[in-house]
Amino acid sequence: MKYSRSLSILMLTVLVTGLLVAGCAPAAKPYECTDEWGCAITEKGQTIKVAYVGPMTADYSAFGTDISRGAELAVKAHPTVKGFDIELLVEDTQGTPEQGASVANKLAADPRVVAVAGHTFSGSTEAAIPIYEKAHIVMMSPSTTLADLPAIGPNVYNRVAFSDKLQGQMAANYIYNTLSVRKVVVVHDGGAYGKGLVEGMAAAFEELGGTALGKEGITPGETDYSAPLAAIAALEPELLYFGGYDADAAVLVTQMAGAGLGGVKFFGCDGTYGTNYLDLSGDAAEGTYSTYVPIPPSAVFDKFKVDYEADYGDPQGKLSPFSPHGHDATALLINAIEDAALESGDSLIIPRKALADAVRSIKDFPGLTGMLTNDGKGECAAASPLFMVVENGEWVEAPGQ
């Protein structure tokens, strides 16, 4: 009895105090948000939250770790907006759509998250876009290339990576014209990115007059693909085109010869480029192709490479080719926040629609990956894909491009 009485007194006190505080609050905030998507309000002492979302653990962690470092360096180079610190939240998706959606929900629930530099991986992004679209959080993806993504997020989705429409088209051209291959089998990992890419590539290849067979799916994350590879060998292709990521590509190339595909070329994509693939597949990687996004040489990029190695110990480009993209995506967002943010008394107001518009109207932004201009529909990519081949255990530019 005694306890319950003191408890009720305590609760009453809390309630009254709460009411008083709530009653006083509007008087302290004269700013009225007129933005149709609402405003993110950062009060004095608080930080502006920008998130990077990607696979930080599990099979594909090399991508997430690398891109998040690029994002961190961008924040380090531009740490404040109008006197308010930028805080970079790094969230893990393990590369899966499920985790992608749950991280998006978590970020959408935080009213101070203004922008997301992400996600990395198209499947995870596809699942997340509708959530950000509803929460009016603007996105700038460093690495998702699935052609359909801008259509799923017509208002908030932007990217600094190229579209797979381009990659598929160029790969088909290169394989048909330069490698003179007429019969390919396309394989994907069942994910949104891989499937989208190989379908685009197969269509382009058939248009050129070649034969694209298969569209065979494999289950990602396995260590034995000998049976599906034997089925592919029965089609007698000259080349195997794979849409997916490095860990699975490494298993495929190491088992190809054993399954009767010795002498058949392996052509990967931007998801299979990197040193992780070389480490995992060893000798079998020799003569296999992938896609790389060349970064134009510049003084800022040289400085970025030096900073990257100084901060993280690894040489830039070891884990994945995308750390400059992580940097650019984050830098573009910070730049847009700078444009859109308004000061009001002690707090910083970021109108969400104005911020999205600022991102959409970016023009000639000097990024590491080139001069970035948003086409108004979300595509900001400056660089186009370059095909690479493994020679003596190193990625070198494939001849004849």
Partner: protein, 366 residues
């Protein structure tokens, strides 16, 4: 009174259920057989998608995979035979064995012994197997001591939950210690993946890899060894006695705790060998590598008749071959091979709950 009424109601429900059950089984059977006939006919006779060489490749891939499943399945079946408990952490014991083999080979490679001569290569592989088996044995004994022995008298669901917990613990510990990245096995040059004998089938070369042959032969030897151990030795006799009845065995002067610890040690050693085989043949190990083979091997053990040693071998081989040939024979995408494997588990449970070679279990075991 109330009790009697309730018992009547229960009985009535049972009766209805069984009546329905009598209809369900033949219906499922007819549907499955019709589906199989239709697909097989389409693929094998109308489409004729694959030549003989491809079928041989599928079979080779399936037999190798199946022999690894069989070795893992033996561990499940041994433990089940004695404790009537499913050791879900078994696949992760295999993963730790695979890692032990990986580090051994790395060490030999670093010391320059791996490729010095044929004898040193053979020595490296032998040591890798020994270390893998020892580490896995140790882990299995520790698991029994820590996670299962204190729960020996608890209801049967409790050690099962403990096993799932142990499995998650081992996976996450491995991720923490070895990192989330994948590791590639360094094979000696003489036993590299993708080299081996070539077999000519209908004018085409089919590669039979050395690692595959090693895996298959070794797994057969392990199975034979285990069979002799269980059937012909004193320890095997004690194990069979404990499997029959723990109390009576204890009264006969058998140290039940020791026999159970021995069983775990043997199942661990088998899992360790399976892990090193997996690494040598498939090439890639990581913290999650034991999960799916573990579940598949459990399926194999049930398919063969859980608690039955030859059954586990047969179940493993059958499952491996079905997984490799099934999707192709039925004209299904290869992504559905796991669906196929687990459908077999469901069908086995419906039509032959005792498994292919299963004994009719006594009330107590079932």
């Amino acid at each position: 009174m109330a009790d009697a009424a309730m018992a009547d109601a229960v009985q009535l429900r049972h009766k209805r259920f069984f009546n329905l059950g009598r209809l369900v089984r033949p219906t499922i059977g007819v549907l499955v057989i019709a589906f199989l006939m239709w697909r097989l006919l389409t693929v094998l006779f109308i489409q004729q998608a694959y030549g003989a060489d491809t079928w041989v490749r599928f079979a080779v891939s399936g037999i190798i995979l199946g022999s690894v499943y069989a070795v893992i399945a033996l561990g499940y079946t041994l433990v089940y035979g004695i404790l009537f408990m499913i050791n879900f952490a078994h696949g992760d014991v295999m993963m730790l064995g695979a890692f032990a083999g990986y580090f051994t080979l790395e060490a030999f490679n670093g010391a320059g012994i791996l490729n010095r001569s044929l004898a040193s290569s053979i020595l490296s592989i032998t040591v890798a197997f020994t270390v893998g088996m020892l580490v896995a044995t140790f882990v299995a004994i520790a698991l029994e001591r820590i996670a299962y022995r204190p729960l020996r008298t608890a209801p049967r669901l409790v050690p099962l939950i403990s096993a799932i917990g142990a499995s998650l613990f081992l996976e996450n510990m491995a991720q923490l210690v070895f990192g989330a990245a994948r590791h590639t096995y360094t094979n000696p040059e003489v036993a590299k993946r993708n080299i081996g004998w070539t077999l000519m089938v209908s004018g085409k070369e089919v590669l039979i890899t050395y690692t595959g042959v090693l895996t298959f032969v070794l797994s057969i030897l392990l199975m034979i060894g285990l069979y002799i151990l269980v059937q012909r030795t004193k320890m095997g006799k004690a194990m069979r006695a404990v499997a029959e009845d723990k109390e009576i065995a204890a009264l006969m002067g058998i140290d039940v705790d020791r026999v159970i610890a021995n069983t775990f040690a043997i199942s661990g050693a088998l899992a360790g060998a399976a892990g090193v085989m997996w690494g040598l043949h498939m090439g890639i190990v990581y913290h999650f590598v034991g999960f799916l083979p573990g579940i598949k091997a459990f399926t194999a053990a049930v398919l063969g008749g859980i608690g039955n040693v030859p059954g586990a071998m047969l179940g493993g081989l059958v499952l491996g071959v079905i997984e490799a040939m099934g999707p192709a024979a039925l004209g299904l995408p290869f992504q559905l091979k796991d669906v196929l494997a687990f459908s077999i588990l469901v069908l086995a449970l419906i039509f032959r709950p005792t498994g292919l070679l299963g004994e009719v279990l006594t009330e107590k075991k079932a």
